[in-house]
Subunit: 159 residues, 2 copies
DNA sequence: TGCTTCTTGTTATAGTATAACAACGCTCCT
DNA sequence: AGGAGCGTTGTTATACTATAACAAGAAGCA
């Protein structure tokens, strides 16, 4: 898994590589990475935390890029639909994908201490769950896998 | 796993055993299974589908048991807090626990065809995810595990 | 040009959830 | 009996999350 976010790292590169990977993917697939969409992706990439649609909208509004909820939701729909961002269902918030371009079934570790969210890649995915599903003839299209808890730093701080 | 809900079964017993198991647990732990709380549990047990808080509230209102949102949400908080019901984060809806009394980390199979939801018990839980979490020093307190897809009947009907 | 498709702008509204405060009933304690 | 403490309910108001619906602009192409 990638636990970027819980550890120090060159954060500028998160943003740059994220945006350029998204741009590449869009170019390859004939998708339009418009101003609003790119900016929303950047806003998400600036944090390893999940942001609410209205948090994002506030920034867009301040920058003159849109002022009504549908503007933010449309951009988020686009980004999540194409794997550039994910929705954290547990929080009703959104986060940039930490591996844009790589196909994956993401899982998330949400720290309730510092609100950081790490994206894990539980690949041959859903292990036990997919077995259980097969056993009853259920076909999985999409899985939500979100764990709440404490990251190492917060757990140590809590002692 | 238990895939009750996807298969024919004696549904009356779902309700009866559910309520009495909850009553037993409450008695054992000094919790109050009040009228509203019991009724909400019954309402949930009547379906193997997830219900929204406002759906439930509508029924309560019709029965004179409460008419404002907090009434429903408080009962649901109680039920989920003590393991008698679960929230399906993906749907913002609630469902009765299918194994009241049994300690468990639940997982759900949500059929997008017929809206039935089955509760699975992926016991030594979260398998890969918990391994990945340990690897980065993350301590899981609670996990959301929800898979959307088609149950056998709906998949066959779709062909 | 005319047509199609995708994107944006805007208004309005739907749907989900909680804060805050008053009041009631119960147990426990003196 | 009186009163404190606690958990539950009733109620009002409001916050937060999300989408429907329609008008209009921009880009590509027959």
């Amino acid at each position: 898994m990638s636990a970027v976010g819980f550890h120090p790292h060159n954060h500028d590169s998160c943003i740059q590589t994220g945006v350029s990977a998204a741009a590449d993917t869009c170019a390859a697939q004939g998708l339009q990475l418009t101003d609003v969409r790119r900016r929303v992706l950047e806003i998400l990439l600036e944090e390893h935390r999940a942001l609410g649609a209205y948090d994002i909208l506030e920034t867009l509004r301040a920058e003159g890029l849109g002022s009504q909820p549908p503007v933010a939701y449309r951009a988020l729909d686009f980004l999540t639909k194409h794997g550039f961002a994910h929705k954290i269902e547990r929080l009703n918030k959104f986060i940039a994908c930490s591996d844009i371009g790589g196909a994956h079934a993401p899982a998330f570790l949400i720290c309730t201490g510092c609100d950081l969210v790490a994206e894990a890649h539980v690949d041959a995915s859903e292990g036990r769950l997919s077995q259980a599903a097969e056993a009853v003839g259920f076909t999985i299209n999409r899985a939500v896998l979100e764990a709440e808890g404490l990251c190492q730093a917060c757990r140590e701080a809590a002692t």
